[in-house]
């Protein structure tokens, strides 16, 4: 269904839909002080647990704070955590995967067995145990989630590097005496970024979920800082009187995760048409 301009809408529709949802969340996160109608910390006990109204579109919480404003500011924490966690996982995993594939032999065996080992822990358990060791804070949540992602990225980077290593231009680079470091960063890295970026989009969604789960358990962002996880956790205590306190943060998580998942799926379809079916 190509248009006159040659743009294949069908091929790009998932990327566009995912991008739109992600764009809304990112816009809210970046421009929170301008977008949010109130400060997320402003208490007003006279207005506590009020339902949605013209003044407070998504109601108020148990301390009279505006739920919409808190949900908007919470997008900041989620995006910050996800961005740093995915960066930690992407950089760590890519370096390990490329090194393993490039040098092979014992180096590869040692590195990939270590990755298999990390992979054998359920992700949430590993994140929770790491948080126990590092202590509860947003920064530590970023590091813990990032470590959880390293094995996945390393496997992908290794497989992609192995494919690139079979290409003639790598042989050519070796024959003209290019150093290993130069070959890895100048010749291999640029050629394995496409699959890694697709994986990064999916990891972003998972990072948002993990951060919310950690905050929900009281191990991530600490009140009064708003995060979707801790908003939901607090909201559960008022479910009978104020169900919106449980619905709003969950809906925000859902939109964000759906956006990144659609974006990841769409990018995979676009970069590798064989993957679609």
């Amino acid at each position: 269904m190509a248009t006159a301009a040659g743009f294949d809408f069908r091929r790009w529709r998932l990327v566009l839909l995912g991008g739109l949802l992600v764009g809304i969340v990112l816009f809210a996160a970046i421009f929170a002080p301008w977008v949010a109608p109130y400060s997320p910390f402003d208490l007003d006990v006279a207005k506590m647990l009020q339902g949605p109204s013209a003044a407070h579109w998504l109601g108020t919480d148990e301390l009279g704070r505006d739920v919409l404003s808190r949900a908007i500011y919470a997008a900041r924490i989620s995006m910050q955590v996800a961005l740093l966690a995915v960066t930690v996982g992407l950089v760590g995993g890519t370096l390990i995967g490329m090194t393993a594939a490039y040098f092979g032999g014992l180096v590869e065996q040692a590195l990939m067995r270590a990755m298999d080992l990390l992979f054998s822990f359920p992700a949430i358990l590993l994140a929770v145990v790491l948080m126990a060791s590092l202590g509860t804070s947003v920064l530590n949540a970023m590091i813990a989630i990032g470590i959880v992602f390293i094995p996945g990225f390393s496997r992908l980077a290794r497989a992609s590097t192995q494919a690139v290593l079979r290409q003639q231009y790598i042989e050519a680079a070796r024959s003209i005496g290019m150093s290993d470091i130069r070959i890895i960063f100048r010749e291999i890295l640029p050629n394995i970024t496409a699959p890694l970026m697709v994986e990064a989009a999916v990891a972003f969604a998972y990072a948002v979920l993990l951060e919310s789960a950690l905050s929900f358990l009281g191990l991530g962002a600490q009140p009064p800082d708003p995060s979707w996880g801790n908003m939901l956790s607090t909201g559960r205590g008022f479910m009978a009187q104020a169900p919106w306190l449980s619905i709003v943060p969950g809906m925000a998580m859902f939109i964000c995760v759906l956006g990144f998942n659609l974006l990841g799926d769409g990018l995979r379809d676009v970069t590798d048409p064989h993957m679609r079916e």
Partner: protein, 317 residues
């Protein structure tokens, strides 16, 4: 076949040993915090020193690990820093709760995923396929702890059909046990089915495009015969591998869901261990979950080999 089993068993033991090292080092790498948590933030330096000496926390990490491993191998998981309760028996008491929850959730996930995945593959690129794929995308984006909250909102607070939480053993009162387990199991199972639908669909699509299925179609075999007799068994091999990983994931996800529904399982045990920095509790809980996941992967790997004799032949060649 025996060689395959022995190789897999050796790998399993090695991985478990390495996992125990990782867990122990991760949890014990920061000194001092266990004593402060057990004694309170106002504990004096002497009290902290005494606590650490009493529990052997002042010795080198390697010595602590060797002792801990020695005790674990004899079935002694130590005692809780917080209340002095023996961790091993407590863990055994909690294991059936988590196992029931994860199994129940896994059954729900498969009941959704297998028929929908197979149906989507059979109706490839038609309306049903597109709707099911879209449904899988939606389900995969729902945080399981949010779904749990919504279920409580609807079935407990609004309709008043189900209790908000708690646990009654199946043997004591089967009906109450099911009533208490259905919402936690649905929260985990429905979300997990998203990935399994996609895997089932992909596995079936691959099998349906093979020559022998096309031959069966050409010979006029019915749709039912093609799906159930010729395709399902072969589609199950890759499906089973992913499903096992997902079962392990379910077992790990119980940390959050058990907390919501006040279920006294291994997950809530781990959480209590973290919040109180009760290292023997945390270590035992985390190790139990890891042991379960690794065992599951081992069993599935072996079953997959049995279902597909080509794998054994390939390995022995």
């Amino acid at each position: 076949m025996i060689r395959l089993v022995l190789t897999r068993l050796a790998g399993f033991v090695l991985t478990l040993f390495a996992a125990s090292v990782v867990l122990f080092v991760t949890i014990n790498v920061l000194p001092g915090s266990a004593a402060k948590s057990a004694l309170g933030i106002h504990a004096t330096a002497q009290a902290i020193q005494r606590f650490e000496a009493q529990h052997g926390l002042d010795r080198p990490l390697l010595v602590q690990y060797a002792e801990w491993l020695g005790r674990i191998l004899q079935g002694d998981f130590g005692t809780s820093f917080q209340n002095g309760v023996a961790v091993g028996p407590e863990l055994l008491k909690r294991l059936p709760v988590t196992l029931e929850l994860a199994t129940f959730a896994f059954i729900i996930a498969n009941l959704i995923a297998i028929p929908l995945g197979a149906w989507a593959a059979r109706r490839h690129q038609k309306g049903a396929d597109r709707s099911i794929t879209f449904l899988a995308t939606i389900l995969g984006a729902i945080p399981n702890f949010w779904l749990a909250t919504l279920l409580v909102l609807v079935f407990t607070l609004t309709l008043r059909w189900l209790p908000p939480g708690g646990f009654t053993p199946f043997t004591a009162n089967p009906m109450m046990n099911l009533k208490q387990m259905i919402m936690p199991a649905l929260s985990l199972g429905v979300v997990s089915s998203a990935l399994l639908i996609r895997i089932m669909r992909a596995s079936m699509l691959e099998v349906l495009s093979t020559d022998y299925v096309r031959t069966a179609e050409a010979k006029g075999a019915s749709s039912r015969t093609i799906v159930f007799r010729h395709s399902m068994r072969n589609a199950f091999i890759p499906y089973l591998n992913v499903a096992a990983v997902e079962f392990g994931f379910l077992f790990g996800s119980v940390v959050v869901i058990e907390d919501i529904f006040l279920l006294p399982g291994v997950g809530s045990f781990v959480l209590v261990g973290i919040i109180n920095r009760d290292y023997p509790v945390l270590l035992a809980g985390a190790l139990a979950i890891t042991l379960f996941v690794l065992t599951l992967n081992l069993v599935v790997d072996l079953i997959a080999s049995l279902l597909d004799p080509r794998q054994v032949k390939a390995r022995n060649a």
